[in-house]
């Protein structure tokens, strides 16, 4: 599934553009990390992609079809959103939470049936958490909750997965596992677009990195190209050297050298 952004421009107040003419596209199987400092426009970009905000200019297309011509349900069949953390007002069972992924497949006046339950169960199996099906989500660890959200996105059967800082609330081991899971999903043909503040993880897991600064797309390249460029230091306003050790990138801020 191909996602294309054309000249996307968005402003909250009609004066300052938070997104300023962003154009790019995301192909099937790509693991793209969106990097940007606080307030760069990452969240606004994601909200535009999800249809929560309407751009003043430009459009988002999926396989050639404009999002503005699609209903909310049609969009949900194309693009799934995995938040940092899901905090529902009430705690549901893991199976019910994953079943929520099938909402766009059932009528608004209906509820999931056997077919959807099977889909949800298969999604749980994919992440080896089927044994958690009956547990309440508020009794799970952060890592398990992240897996449930991934399973929900898989049950949604959307080709494009939008991850909003998926590792920010996890311990180190779960961060690595989550990124590994995202990589595995892209190998299955999903298009993953991931926002993060962790530069090192972006360099080591992504197949492509996009840098956003002041609402503009200022760099789009492979991790290897970015690691060898001097752009990172000016992007973060801090001297950074990127070293390679046994095929892994390590980012070292100059002050600590």
């Amino acid at each position: 599934m191909k996602l294309e952004i054309r000249n996307l421009t968005f402003s909250y107040d009609g004066k300052k553009n938070v997104l300023d003419g962003i154009s790019t596209s995301f192909e099937s199987g790509e693991f793209t990390v969106v990097l940007g400092r606080n307030g760069a426009g990452k969240t606004t970009l994601f909200k535009n992609l999800l249809g929560l905000l309407k751009p003043q200019k430009g459009e988002v297309l999926c396989d050639g079809l404009s999002f503005s011509d699609m209903s909310i349900r049609e969009k949900a069949r194309k693009i799934a959103y995995i938040p940092q953390e899901s905090n529902p007002a009430f705690s549901y069972s893991v199976l019910t939470s994953v079943l929520m992924g099938t909402t766009s497949m059932i009528s608004s006046l209906s509820s999931p049936k056997e077919k959807e339950i099977r889909k949800a169960y298969e999604a749980l199996e994919k992440f080896h958490i089927a044994d958690l099906a009956g547990r309440k989500t508020n009794t799970l660890s952060g890592g398990e909750r992240q897996l449930v959200l991934c399973a929900r996105a898989v049950a949604q059967e959307a080709g494009i997965l939008l991850f909003d800082e998926p590792t920010s609330n996890l311990d180190w081991a779960n961060q690595i596992k989550t990124l590994g899971n995202i990589r595995a999903l892209t190998r299955d043909g999903y298009t993953a677009i991931v926002s993060t503040h962790n530069l090192e993880q972006a360099l080591n897991f992504a197949s492509r990195i996009i840098l956003i600064k002041d609402g503009k797309l200022c760099y789009d390249a492979s991790p290897a190209e970015l690691a060898s460029s001097s752009l990172l230091s000016s992007f973060y306003d801090i001297d950074i050297s990127v070293e390679e050790y046994k095929g892994h990138y390590i980012c070292i801020p100059k002050e600590s050298e």
């Binding site: 999800l50 969009k75 529902p88 069972s93 909402t103 059932i106 608004s108 509820s111 339950i117 099906a133």
Partner: protein, 348 residues
């Protein structure tokens, strides 16, 4: 990976949560229904009661007094049924508001519908209107308050839930001020006591027309809410996630708010302000059966109606002069709210 039937069995085995709760609530509902009929100033024994009720559909020999039949059909039947409808309506409103606003502490008067209805009916009494006009004014007041809240909330598109809750508080306060003003200018000998007693919350002055209005305006919204039960579940995740999962949040929120408000307004129009039930019952339901709207909607209807029928029976029988039901629900609701605050505090 497991196959077909095996998956089905595993899922059903693991996820079936307390399957006995709904049948138990149904049993409690039936028992309460008959107890409410039987008890009162003119007691009717259960066997006679069943006979009287069945006499309308079966050719039974009349072994009871005509007085008993009058009590059952003309006094108890409308009152018990109206208690059941209002109990179900107010509880269901609370359940829906709490999910839509993602806040378990929210109650039906959050959008100002109760205050609006109270001010409307007080205005009707002050203007010397007849019974039907007062009910209509009450209903209009409730709906007007919610429409104003919805209009203000549209001005806060980025924060739809916060906009609704804050404008609800503001409009409630405005209508409460209007109510106080009406009380201030009302004749202290005649009109003021009438307003006070009307608003205190009681089923003693309800009429058959109230029953018809409650039956229609609580049953229809309840059916609509049950139809959107799955979307109500997804709405509790919040705006961003619900939209990304394919829910038309604006349409669902509008439908849910209108349905819940209709139920609250018609209840207030019929019986005055009966507080706390919309907060207490949804909590008890979630504690007993979980949070899934597929189960909580029928459970809330059963528990809410049983609760109000029971409280009304107590209010009719506890003392020689009837205690208004609003006072009793407050006696139960206020300590329960305290318990919830302490419970939430311990969790965090």
């Amino acid at each position: 990976m497991q196959k077909g039937g095996e998956i089905k069995d595993t899922v059903k085995f693991r996820v079936k949560e307390r399957p006995y709760v709904l049948p138990l609530l149904l049993l409690v509902f039936i028992l309460t229904f008959f107890i409410s009929f039987a008890l009162g100033r003119y007691p009717v024994d259960p066997i006679t009661l069943v006979k009287i009720l069945l006499s309308r559909i079966l050719p039974l020999e009349e072994t009871w007094s005509s007085q008993a039949e009058t009590v059952v059909f003309n006094i108890r039947l409308p009152r018990v049924l109206i208690g059941a409808f209002i109990g179900a309506g107010l509880s269901l409103s609370g359940l829906v508001y709490q999910g839509i606003f993602q806040n378990p502490m929210v109650s039906p008067d959050v959008l100002g519908s109760t205050s609006g209805a109270a001010a409307g009916s007080a205005l009707g009494i002050l203007a010397g209107m007849g019974y039907f006009s007062i009910s209509a004014m009450s209903f209009l007041g409730g709906i007007t308050a919610v429409l104003i809240v919805l209009m203000i909330a549209r001005r806060v598109p980025g924060q739809p839930v916060l906009g609704l809750v804050l404008s609800g508080i503001m409009i409630s306060s405005l209508f409460n001020s209007l109510l106080s003003f009406i009380k201030l200018v009302a004749d202290t000998d005649d009109v003021l006591p009438q307003i006070t007693y009307y608003l205190i919350g009681s089923l003693s002055s309800t009429r058959n027309s109230d029953l018809a209005a409650c039956a229609l305006l609580i049953t229809v919204p309840a059916i609509v809410l049950y139809l959107i039960r799955w979307n109500l579940n997804v709405m509790t995740l919040g705006e961003e996630e619900a939209v990304s999962l394919g829910v038309n949040t604006k349409a669902i929120r509008f439908t849910a708010v209108v349905c819940a408000t209709l139920m609250t307004a018609v209840s207030t129009a019929a019986a005055g302000m009966i507080g706390w039930i919309g907060l207490v019952i949804p909590h008890l339901v979630r504690m007993s059966i979980g949070c899934d709207y597929r189960k909580t909607i029928p459970a809330t209807i059963l528990m809410g109606s049983s609760f109000l029928m029971l409280v009304d029976t107590v209010s009719r029988n506890l003392t020689t002069s009837e205690i208004p039901i609003g006072i009793l629900t407050s006696f139960i609701g206020a300590p329960f709210f305290l318990y919830l605050i302490i419970r939430e505090g311990k969790k965090t």
